[in-house]
Symmetry: C2
Amino acid sequence: MSDFARPNDSSRPDARPLYAQVESILNGRIAAGEWPPGFALPSEPELAQELGVSHGTVRKALDALERRHLIERRQGKGTFVARQTSERARFHFLPIRDLEGHQTEPTAVALSLDTVPAGEAASQVLQLAAGASTYRLRRLRSKEGTPFMLDETTMPAAVFPDFEVPLNGQLTDELYVMYQRRYGVTVVRSEEVLRAEGATPELAGILKIAEGTPLLVMERRTWDAAGRIVEWRSSWLDTTRHRYVNVME
Amino acid sequence: MSDFARPNDSSRPDARPLYAQVESILNGRIAAGEWPPGFALPSEPELAQELGVSHGTVRKALDALERRHLIERRQGKGTFVARQTSERARFHFLPIRDLEGHQTEPTAVALSLDTVPAGEAASQVLQLAAGASTYRLRRLRSKEGTPFMLDETTMPAAVFPDFEVPLNGQLTDELYVMYQRRYGVTVVRSEEVLRAEGATPELAGILKIAEGTPLLVMERRTWDAAGRIVEWRSSWLDTTRHRYVNVME
């Protein structure tokens, strides 16, 4: 039986274009870990034959997966499941630049990691049962010894069992690299909601700034390739020496 | 002589993939107004023959132009040069949402429009000679009678000669729609740099908030299809009832 013939939840035929259905089947294999990071995909003709669709349809599906950074085509070598690179985690998913517009290479230190039952907000954002176990990680980013951003990340323990990081030392890996390497969780999308807010006494103490200093506050939700929300994050940025950059095109 | 044979500035052969060269030729026709908004493009076979490339190359170039919102394909009708829609100007290039995450439909009022010689900052950002003539437009956006965002847009007078808008009345069109309709200037890209800053006495007066209230400040540069920077904008957002939303994928 072909993948297309499987009834879906609503028992209605899938109305999406064929290439989108193929994209979604291949996405599913990556999300499930059946095709892990670094895996060499079958050739386009092999996929076309297996799925009973044209080469053109397979190519369009692969184009879409490539645009979503789930696969990489290497000239003359083939097509591979993409690894979450530090580069992409840092540059693309951390749109913070210094005043000259350069990507910043901050040090990140884990201040604390706690196991916390999900409260009302966390269970709603992360789509968890109230009281479900979560990890809460606080990290402080500094540049040349001056702290400029605190972030607090809440993750479902069911998605990241036995999560741990060294405390008070410099973290060498970005979280999204750890998610993929340790748990096979590939981050594909983040949505951030930004506001300005004065520093509370606690934040002022951590960031070493005056209480009430205007901060850029980011509330982030992050999705993995399987469509799950895998983290909820709040970040507080001191914009005296750093900025948030957004490109619209 | 084919377009490809034209020597470029560096007199070196163009090293980009063929489809990118085709994309750039077609982009040039749109940017120059040779193919105006709403224009029906020749068919893919016609373009392939004219440019001496394969159908596949033309299709890839059109895919790229479609992703950049410069053209639209309409099923069974053909391919057209896209019009800058109010929808895209408002939703895509104005990523401000209310607290429920809904796109806001603010009223915008032009407070002032002045002709100003470009100072050092403006001439640098807009790549103009110092003292070149610019327009400076101040607009105030409100929701249900409450102002929440001021913006100040600086435009080169050479790009937008005799620019005018009615003052103190509600503006019915977004600026980017006016740019295209009146001047044939199609906006394709904006880059915003965000910071938090306390409201100055002047901003506090205009936005009817307390002096020092933390505001989200956006500094924007905008490019047209010809690759020119066509505006520089500063915006001040009161984030009490509105947020800035950024999606990374």
